[in-house]
Amino acid sequence: MSAIIQTRNFNLFYGTFHALKDVNIDIPKNMITSMIGPSGCGKSTLLRAYNRMNDLLEDVSVNGEVIVDGKNVNDPGMDLVELRKKVGMVFQRPNPFPLSVAENVLFSVKIHRSAAPKEYGDIIEKSLKAVDLWDGLKDKLNTSALNLSLEQQQRLCIARLLPVKPDILLMDEPCSALDPIATGHIEELMHHLKANYTIVIVTHNMQQAARVSDYTAYLYLGNLIEYDLTKKIFTVPKDRRTEDYLSGKFG
């Protein structure tokens, strides 16, 4: 297993609250890894530690290491813009910009000036194709993204990350605002995307973790309790606490 993210003795505090405790976990490249656990267990906090989104909150302190592609993201010299290009994020509710479909896809390219205008057409087509939106939207590129269905909006939010060529896609409850059919479609999309990207997903839906991920991490009260192949976690978990959580005895 080649790890693209390594978390070493990582601790995170919100003020005095110890939210992540000595977490050690290797996230494998081109796989889907799920983080599961009851509310407040630290799974979203851990996800946000991978592209330092926790920096946006007040009074957060960390120690230990989060190494993404060989570099400790908490090093003072870390270029956060570069980090977040490499490690993109999709949120719970689709959050397209109030712009056209095309402008959404090109947003980061224009900010970073990472492509010439003559390449824009190609970028839009490739990005929308990667999330299976091209066929449905190729004639509606100038439509406002806010007019799309929730599922299309979430796909667009994923497409929006792709032009800056990320390696890792972080997804925080990406389907919680979607109906079961749309959820199935996004899960299938994740399955296709993993050929080119590493995906880390936080989900409250245990069955979603079971269905989509190759590896599953179970967190509880800021501790990483168990981390293994999803098929092992869901058939023969080693820790009793994982078993109790999976079988609904608590959480």
Binding site: H191, K231, F234
Partner: protein
């Protein structure tokens, strides 16, 4: 995703069935052609491979249920594959029993006509082959035909039993060989029963209809 995993699982079961089919065929051929090499091959080479398939398929089914919580037809498919896998593993054990008896018989002179055993063997293999074809093509008509053919094997088994009982009267020296032949007939009968089970399981997958123990429902 679930669809791909089911395809992989079905593929694995078909490979397993083809091994078992070979085992039964070779056990009968080894016995009737007095070829001990075939009998040894079934015992030493084939059986461990079928055991590996048994473990792998069972594990795949458990993981599929845990990860995807299948329902309706998908659930019937996974649960029936668990049963078919067991049926195949039992068939392989029966083939080994036949070979073990065969090894004994090959060390002794031929005693009776082998027509009925051949009939049982050929029918058992064909029943297994057809039940797996019914599974692959989800062909209920073929599955039903397999269930109906079970009586051919049962009748041949009854005839062998009767003939051997007759033969044993007053002839102590033939008893060990007769007992081994009876064991072989019994094992072939069980193989045919298990092929029938697979066909019943196919009907349950395709139509959700349970025809076990009451085939005319």
């Amino acid at each position: 995703m679930f669809k791909d995993r089911i395809v992989e699982l079905k593929h694995k079961l078909i490979q397993d069935a083809s091994l078992v089919e070979d085992m039964i065929g070779k056990s009968i051929r080894g016995l009737l052609d007095r070829n001990s090499g075939l009998l040894e091959e079934v015992i030493n080479t084939y059986e461990p491979r079928v055991n590996d398939y048994d473990r792998d398929i069972e594990k795949m089914c458990v993981e599929l249920i845990a990860q995807y919580e299948p329902v309706a037809r998908d659930l019937r498919m996974v649960i029936m594959i668990i049963k078919m896998n067991k049926d195949l593993e039992r068939m392989a054990d029966h083939a080994v029993n036949i070979c073990e008896s065969g090894v004994f018989l090959l060390q002794n002179p031929v005693m009776t006509s082998s027509d009925d055993l051949r009939l049982m063997g050929e029918n058992s293999v064909r029943m297994l082959k057809d039940s797996i074809n019914a599974f692959v093509n989800e062909d209920v008509t073929l599955a039903q035909a397999v269930c109906e053919r079970d009586s051919i094997v049962d009748d041949a088994g009854d005839k062998i039993l009767k003939d051997l009982t007759e033969l044993m009267r007053g002839k102590i020296d033939v008893i060990p060989r007769c007992l081994q032949l009876m064991r072989i007939a019994h094992n072939l009968e069980r193989i045919a029963d298990l092929a029938t089970n697979i066909s019943e399981e196919v009907i349950y997958i395709v139509e959700g209809r349970d025809v076990k123990h009451h085939p005319h429902d």
